[in-house]
Symmetry: C2
Subunit: 194 residues, 2 copies
Amino acid sequence: MIDKLVQHINDRIDNKLTESDISLLSEVFHLKKLRKHQYLIQSGDVCKIAAFVVKGALKKYTVDETGKENILELFIENWWAGDKESFMIGTPTPYYIDAYEDTELLIINKSDFIEKIGKLSFISELNYILTERQSFQLMKRLHSSQTLTAEQKLEQLQNTYPEFFQRFPQHIIASYLGMTKETLSRIRANALKK
Amino acid sequence: MIDKLVQHINDRIDNKLTESDISLLSEVFHLKKLRKHQYLIQSGDVCKIAAFVVKGALKKYTVDETGKENILELFIENWWAGDKESFMIGTPTPYYIDAYEDTELLIINKSDFIEKIGKLSFISELNYILTERQSFQLMKRLHSSQTLTAEQKLEQLQNTYPEFFQRFPQHIIASYLGMTKETLSRIRANALKK
DNA sequence: CGGAATCTTGAAAGTGTTCAAATCAAGTGG
DNA sequence: CCACTTGATTTGAACACTTTCAAGATTCCG
């Protein structure tokens, strides 16, 4: 169970984890299972956990006045799910995160994070790497959101995260891309013609 | 000159800079002046510098096939201008950055950054804080870009960065918001009626 | 088989863009 | 001080793309 997390970390940091690092991780992370449609966090909560996805899929979204979901992020295996801003700063999150499939997570709560591992160099290193990558990706997504047509957005997503199309239905992908499911359907029909 | 940078750093880190920290900064950062319309970086360059804005204003943008500028970021005093991804990873930047006003920058080049200050704890701390904040802001901008109407985008920008409206003309603001100058002009006319 | 979720299709409406032209504002040089 | 230039803003009309709403078709799965 913890193996996937250890692997994830070793893939990203310079010096591999020692046995004692790993046993510490085993202590502070615990397994949590979510059934399809269960929430990890809800709007208004302060996010007090960080969650590593061992198995399954989740979506992060807001809900507008009309009840429409606007999906911001999709999480699958080996991704971190949560609201980092709420977790770090302690402000209430505006987001919902729920399981789209039955999901297994490795959870650490904020107090354990701060007291037990936050200051370890491999955690700082990992955290920095992930945060920096996140910001690079968000810059690209923002640019795409503002400059590309719906068709170009689809094509780009097929190139960057083809796995999403295996895991999520079209209406979820559409919302992630900032368009309606009808638009996505029509665009796909057009793209096939060519 | 270096004072503004020292102030900027002291405002953000836990332990204030020492005299020797400051004299080291004075050594590795040098002043660069840009006249209005001069480039700091151009598309295709590898960004080999990080630049702190002492005075002036800059814009970061791409140019599409038709020559249209799509502005991603605006920089004024006390902001860092550059393409961090290109700087850190060494990939060619897709962006242009140019001065919208006559501008004074404190520049550090990559080799000095890596060899002389990159490993100092106050630089790591600052870098992490800025990167994290950047990613929080980008998440919000992406969400706004995908969910708000043009009118709501304007209102939100007026609330978050009112100073932009003093420093940049409307067509620049419009591009930053991902809309045309005509749309922004009409929206403002409508908003005034109410 | 039957029901729920998903995907497709059509027509009408909405929102923002494009293109072109007019207006406005702020220097600059004569 | 005025004419001229340049950049910025506004306005109008036609157009393009995406959404909305509604209905029908398809797929999945117990």
